[in-house]
């Protein structure tokens, strides 16, 4: 029997529950909740550029963590701290030079009992950790909210939650950057974000969208070669997942990539002086793809395949990535006029 009194009580319960659920952190709570249990803090070797601490993202329920390549991983005693403040050791499974990503597997730390004897900690069980399933970074549009989680300046101590910052997704762009005086090896597309993640400790953290879906991994601290400013970016989750899968399931990954053959265009560039050499055409080989496309001596090449090339080095960099058979759009300035032509690369003889 439900009396009127009961009924009122039930309604009140419903209202209280509804009120409790709308006491949210401004709407960002799904994202922040998703981040705080899946981003871990790393502590390792401190030397030179390396701050000795960083962040990582759990990608399996049995404690596989993806992070960025860093000097801290070279530590003899690498420590990983999860949300509840539990400290784990970790083995580095792989550090990839091309993508500058690294994969770790957590392991229990040995503990000491009352008599000072070393005891193996509890083994890690499958299903012990919450982890991120990859989202889809291609759905991001400029202006979308993004939330970054990491441990900048190792502010979070013990079982304190990680630091999160809110910003918007700026754009997708190719990473063209350097660390100190050396070019950064990863040149793929990254997610440029409008929140400061170029701080020590943030790299390796996660970037999620408003729904809390994992879209990127905060990249290493670099300086953009285009703007010469510190670069706030995340490696798209697709690139991260490809890397994780290639380490965890090497048999599923495609075997050796076929050896690439250098592409041939037939343009000899005018080289004189140093630094910032403009991409002027010195000569074009006879019966070459460039000759067929209509490239002439003294043309100034300004863009190749949609990418602007401001110096010979950047032109060669674009060309190095192209394969024979690729067709490229070439934009040149000739007699103060813009000319666009299409060139089909051939195989180098």
């Amino acid at each position: 029997m439900v009396t009127g009194k009961h009924r009122t009580f039930c309604y009140v319960c419903g209202i209280v529950l509804a009120a409790a659920s709308s006491l949210s952190a401004g709407g960002f709570d799904p994202a922040i909740e998703a981040l705080s249990s899946r981003v871990v803090r790393l502590f390792g070797l401190k030397a030179g550029l390396s701050a000795g601490y960083g962040s990582g993202v759990l990608v399996t329920s049995d404690g596989v963590v993806v992070t960025v390549v860093s000097l801290l991983l070279d530590a003899e005693r690498l420590r990983v701290v999860t949300e509840d403040g539990t400290v784990y050791g970790a083995d580095v499974l792989k550090q990839d030079r091309d993508t500058q990503l690294a994969l770790l597997r957590l392991k229990p730390l040995s503990q000491y009992d009352r008599r000072g004897r070393s005891v193996q900690g509890d083994a890690i069980e499958d299903g012990q950790f919450s982890y991120f399933k990859p989202g889809d970074s291609s759905t991001l549009r400029p202006g979308d909210w993004v939330i970054a989680g990491g441990n900048p300046f190792k502010v979070a101590q013990g079982d304190e939650p990680i630091s999160t910052t809110v910003g918007v997704f700026s754009t997708r762009a190719e990473l063209d950057a350097r660390r100190k005086t050396r070019d950064f090896p990863f040149r793929g597309e990254v997610l440029v974000i409008d929140t400061i993640t170029s701080t020590p400790g943030s790299p390796g953290g996660a970037l999620v969208n408003l729904d809390g879906e994992w879209v990127g991994l905060i990249g290493r601290l670099v300086v953009s070669n285009r703007t010469h400013t510190n670069f706030n970016y995340a490696v798209p989750v697709e690139t991260v997942t490809d890397f994780v899968q290639s380490v965890l399931h090497p048999e599923a990954a495609p075997a050796h990539k076929p050896a690439t053959v250098a592409a041939f265009h037939g343009i000899k560039l005018f080289e004189l002086g140093y630094l910032k050499k403009l991409v002027y055409v010195d000569s074009v080989k006879r019966r070459s793809p460039a000759r067929a496309a209509g490239v002439k001596k003294d043309d100034l090449i300004v863009s190749v395949g949609g990418k602007s090339v401001s110096d010979i080095a950047s032109f060669q960099q674009v060309m190095r990535r192209k394969k024979p058979g690729d067709t490229l759009q070439l934009v040149v300035i000739r007699n103060e006029q813009i000319k666009t032509m299409t060139i089909e690369l051939a195989e180098a003889k």
């Binding site: 029997m1 439900v2 009961h6 009924r7 039930c10 309604y11 319960c13 419903g14 529950l17 509804a18 659920s21 709308s22 006491l23 949210s24 952190a25 401004g26 709407g27 960002f28 709570d29 799904p30 909740e33 549009r141 400029p142 202006g143 979308d144 909210w145 910003g167 918007v168 997704f169 700026s170 754009t171 997708r172 762009a173 190719e174 063209d176 005086t181 440029v192 409008d194 400061i196 408003l210 953009s224 070669n225 285009r226 703007t227 010469h228 400013t229 510190n230 706030n232 630094l275 910032k276 403009l278 100034l300 300004v302 863009s303 990418k307 602007s308 401001s310 934009v331 300035i333 813009i338």
Partner: protein, 388 residues
């Protein structure tokens, strides 16, 4: 029927447990705001152009100073790009990537920031959103407000809507757009209008992150209207002043009223330069702005102002130090008038001084200027009220 309330509240319990925060209306507000961002960006993208610069100066001391006395020339190329340095010693890397500008009027006038041309590039190309490419001519620069006007050979271009300056309020949402990182779409950073009438009334301040990635691009509101052109600025002169604020939440955008004041002259190829009085101030003087030396020739020397005189006010601002003087005139370009009150002993005189470019100034001298013609109508002696 009687069981319905219990069932309903149980269901409420189940759904809240499964999706603890989705129910929050804050979340919906955020989603709505996100789509507002999209709409605003989409509506202004057609008016943003991508500017590519090719060639130009190597990093060296630039600006309006003389070249350094000794150019290092050991033949070996420096391993890394060197920072540019302006005449006040601030150093910064000038962007190498593409930059942004906006279509200012239908006949092919493109407005952007002069920051993008510090290198003095040999070629400038412009890529419109509709896919057309043009070679652009750099018509004129305003080095004080950090603007530049380019011309391309196009007509019938669509122009964006601007926010009337009187409608701009502190707290309005802003989105800064740029092309500095390359990529297919412009990059966006968001913030609010932090202050109005900054930089002597030339700019609005925003906390959207401005950097070499978006100098020259537009700052827009949530309705996709242009608030101003993003430029580096600081309360001190110099071509690179303000760049050090990048991504710090301190950014400036020049508003339309100021652009309209100068755009006719810019179109005629008239560039604006920093204005100089041609005086050196005694920094040891207490609580006043005493002239230590005067450039010969210079606008002030022609008026008979001499070392030892005290600049009491400039454009109505009372001066207590060289900092006050800089602040009073740093946004006044050469060729414009500054009103000075000069104290010479007991005499206080008003002058209207036309500022000069630093290339027009001579060396600093400390000797007396030629005697002043007492019939000079500009000099209006008057007794100091507080003089015993």
């Amino acid at each position: 029927m009687r069981w319905f309330p219990i069932v309903a509240s149980c269901m409420a319990l189940v759904t809240t447990a499964a999706q603890p925060a989705r129910a929050g209306e804050d979340f919906d507000i955020l989603k709505t705001r996100q789509s507002l961002f999209h709409d605003a960006i989409d509506s202004v993208v057609p008016y943003i152009v991508r500017i590519e610069t090719i060639g130009g100066a190597q990093p060296r001391v630039v600006g309006e100073t003389a070249p350094p006395e000794e150019e290092e020339d050991d033949g070996s190329p420096p391993p890394q790009p060197m920072p540019f340095q302006d005449n006040l010693g601030s150093q910064f890397m000038v962007a190498d990537g593409p930059t942004a500008g906006i279509i200012f009027d239908a006949d092919g006038w493109i407005l952007t920031s002069s920051f993008n041309f510090v290198r003095e590039p040999a070629h400038i190309t412009i890529h419109l959103t509709d896919g057309r490419d043009y070679v652009a001519e750099l018509v004129a620069r305003d080095r004080v407000r950090k603007l530049a006007l380019l011309k391309i050979d196009a007509t019938g271009l669509q122009t964006p809507e601007w926010v009337p300056v009187s409608e701009i309020r502190v707290g309005m949402r802003t989105i800064a757009l740029g092309r500095g990182f390359g990529g297919e779409s412009p990059s966006a950073t968001v913030g609010i209008v932090s202050a109005l009438n900054r930089m002597d009334g030339n700019a609005v301040q925003t906390d959207a992150k401005l950097s070499p990635a978006n100098y020259g691009g537009p700052l827009i509101d949530l309705r996709g209207r242009v608030l101003g052109i993003c430029v580096p600025m600081a309360q001190r002169p110099g071509e690179l002043a303000g760049v050090e604020f990048y991504d710090a939440g301190i950014g400036f955008a020049v508003t339309k009223d100021r652009v309209e004041e100068i755009v006719a002259e810019l179109k005629e190829g008239v560039s604006f330069y920093r204005g100089w009085l041609g005086v050196s101030i005694n920094t040891r003087a207490q609580n006043n702005c005493m002239i230590r030396a005067v450039a010969d020739p210079s606008p002030v020397r022609e008026l008979g102002i001499r070392p030892g005189d005290i600049i009491a006010t400039a454009n109505g601002h009372e001066l207590r130090s060289i900092k006050n003087l800089r602040q009073a005139i740093y946004m006044v370009p050469a060729g414009e008038v500054v009103q000075l009150v000069i104290r010479h002993g007991d005499l206080e005189s008003c002058y209207e001084v036309v500022l000069a470019r630093n290339t027009e100034l001579g060396a600093l001298v400390q000797n007396e200027p030629p005697p002043i013609d007492p019939a000079n109508p500009f000099i209006k002696p008057k007794k100091l009220p507080w003089k015993r």
